[in-house]
């Protein structure tokens, strides 16, 4: 019930901001000290293992969410442009050829926020309604 309300608020906010997509409920979060320029393209590259550094040249450590969570579904579909099974198939190609390691997965928004707040190199995504002052949020749309 609470989650539902949060979503509704996020949707309303997106609507008020004139966002092009009412489904854009997920925002990217980084450490407050991270000054890198981050957009949908660079986020996609980092989360698909194609880019290992931020625009500032510092190492980027992506934090993923467990498959099946609302944030993960939304991020995979809207930002990566694939469903979670396709993302998983993409990584299986890299893992079994030694070309890449998928991002670490955590259980929920709160864990992502805790990890990003504690690590200047981390980058994650959470429901825009979950964002706290301990991280810097970046809207992709």
């Amino acid at each position: 019930m609470l989650k539902h309300t949060v979503k509704k608020i996020a949707l309303t906010a997106a609507f008020l901001l004139g966002s092009t997509s009412v489904f854009a409920e997920v925002v990217v979060i980084v450490h407050p000290s991270n000054s890198a320029s981050i957009d949908a393209k660079s986020t996609q590259r980092i989360f698909l293992g194609k880019e290992k550094k931020f625009s500032t040249g510092k190492e980027a450590i992506p934090i993923n969410q467990a498959a099946g969570t609302a944030s993960r579904n939304s991020f995979d579909n809207d930002t990566l442009g694939r469903n979670s099974a396709q993302v998983s198939a993409y990584w299986s190609k890299l893992v079994f050829t030694g070309k890449g390691i998928p991002p670490k997965e955590v259980a929920d928004d709160a864990e992502v926020i805790a990890m990003v707040a504690a690590n200047p190199d981390a980058i994650g995504y959470v429901d825009s309604g979950s964002v706290t002052a301990s991280v810097k949020a970046i809207a992709l749309n």
């Binding site: 194609k50 498959a67 099946g68 099974a85 190609k93 070309k99």
Partner: protein
């Protein structure tokens, strides 16, 4: 286990021991594939009683970071067609020289096709198995070195790979070996569009009793002609082109390849497939058409004609007979569906119709089911 594998295993264990903080990752995959052909027919190792043996496989991969830049990877696969005897198919070190360049050395997959690297990982594609007309080549693994370069410019992503080394494998005839193999690959990708080209060459040898018997007999008539007909340290050329358009809701892709060892009995193999599919939520129905044309012009007839007339009938029998015996031409039409049960399990089914252009009695229908799992 051969000495090469033993060495790599040993080195890999040393790698584990040397790096106290080494992160060790264990991944694996399993493909349970069962099939049955139409009555009294045989195809891809299946016959008209249901069996899992031909294409099922289980694999375990261990990789360890030796340091910031180096990783050791070993993959053991047990295949149903080999009675599930586990074998080290890959064992290699990767050195990440820069963010864009990595160098791998050991036993690794030759980057010949779009799905070469993940051909054994059923979960990574929409088919029950990769189309054999194109993918069934006797030289998938290379003992050597591969350099990978990946970068992007604007919206274009590109990948370059160069591999050198040796291979050994087998086909229907016998053992196939390649020396001084060099393969170059270029791939580009932008949004929905992907393209790749590949070119490779190597000194190729086929060792098979059936072939040797004919070659040896022919050598008694004309050693020179026997040498021409034989495939022994002869230059083999591999060329391939792949294209893909993926619009998420639907996709179409294809690969076209040519394998040719001109100075031998082995005819040029031209092969291609075209596949298209739709994505409806967790379902991916698809259709695939594949064709192999391995029936080139009969070679060396001019050389037979130059022999003394008395020798010509026997020489013709050897030269034409061998080339006709290995000629092949067929097409396969497959309808299939993939269902994403979970982000690590896919269920699949397909039905194929195989049509031989050489011998009607080889025509066959095949029904297959598969469960692909990754962890």
């Amino acid at each position: 286990m051969n000495n090469f594998s033993k060495t790599v295993v040993l080195l890999t264990s040393l790698g584990f021991a040397a790096a106290t903080n080494a992160e060790v990752r264990i991944n694996g995959f399993a493909n349970l594939v069962g099939g049955i052909t139409s009555s009294d027919d045989a195809l891809y190792g299946y016959d008209d009683s249901f069996s899992f043996k031909s294409e099922s496989s289980f694999a375990l991969q261990v990789s360890a970071d030796i340091n910031d830049k180096m990783t050791a990877t070993g993959q053991i696969i047990a295949r149903g067609e080999d009675d599930y005897d586990a074998e080290f198919e890959w064992a290699y070190f990767t050195f990440n020289a820069t963010d864009h360049v990595s160098i791998s050395a050991g036993r690794l997959r030759l980057p010949l096709f779009k799905y070469s690297a993940s051909r054994d990982v059923g979960y990574s594609y929409h088919w029950v198995n990769t189309p054999r007309a194109v993918y069934a080549v006797p030289f998938n693994n290379l003992d050597g070195v591969r350099v990978d370069y990946a970068n992007y410019a604007g919206d274009w992503e590109y990948n370059l790979q160069l591999a050198v080394g040796t291979f050994s494998g087998d086909n229907d005839l016998g053992d196939v070996e390649g020396k001084n193999v060099i393969v170059g690959t270029a791939e580009v990708q932008k949004d929905w569009f992907k393209a790749r080209v590949v070119a490779g060459r190597g000194k190729t040898t086929i060792d098979a009793d059936a072939v040797s018997n004919i070659i040896n007999a022919l050598a008694q008539i004309s050693p020179e002609l026997a040498n021409d007909l034989d495939l022994r340290d002869d230059s083999g050329l591999f060329l391939g082109v792949g294209l893909e358009a993926d619009f998420y809701d639907w996709f179409i892709s294809g690969e076209f390849t040519s394998i040719n060892a001109e100075d031998s009995f082995s005819p040029e193999d031209k092969a291609f497939y075209i596949t298209a599919g739709l994505r409806f939520g967790a379902f991916t129905p698809s259709v695939t058409y594949e064709k192999l044309d391995g029936r080139g012009e009969i070679r060396f007839l001019d050389k037979v004609a130059a022999l003394p007339v008395a020798f010509q009938p026997a020489a013709t029998a050897a030269v034409v007979g061998l080339q006709q015996a290995v000629a092949d031409e067929y097409e396969v039409l497959t309808l299939g569906v993939r269902y994403d049960y979970d982000t690590n399990i896919a269920l699949k089914a397909d039905i194929s119709s195989y049509t031989s252009d050489i011998d009607d009695s080889l025509d066959s229908g095949l029904l297959r089911f598969a469960v692909n799992y990754i962890f």
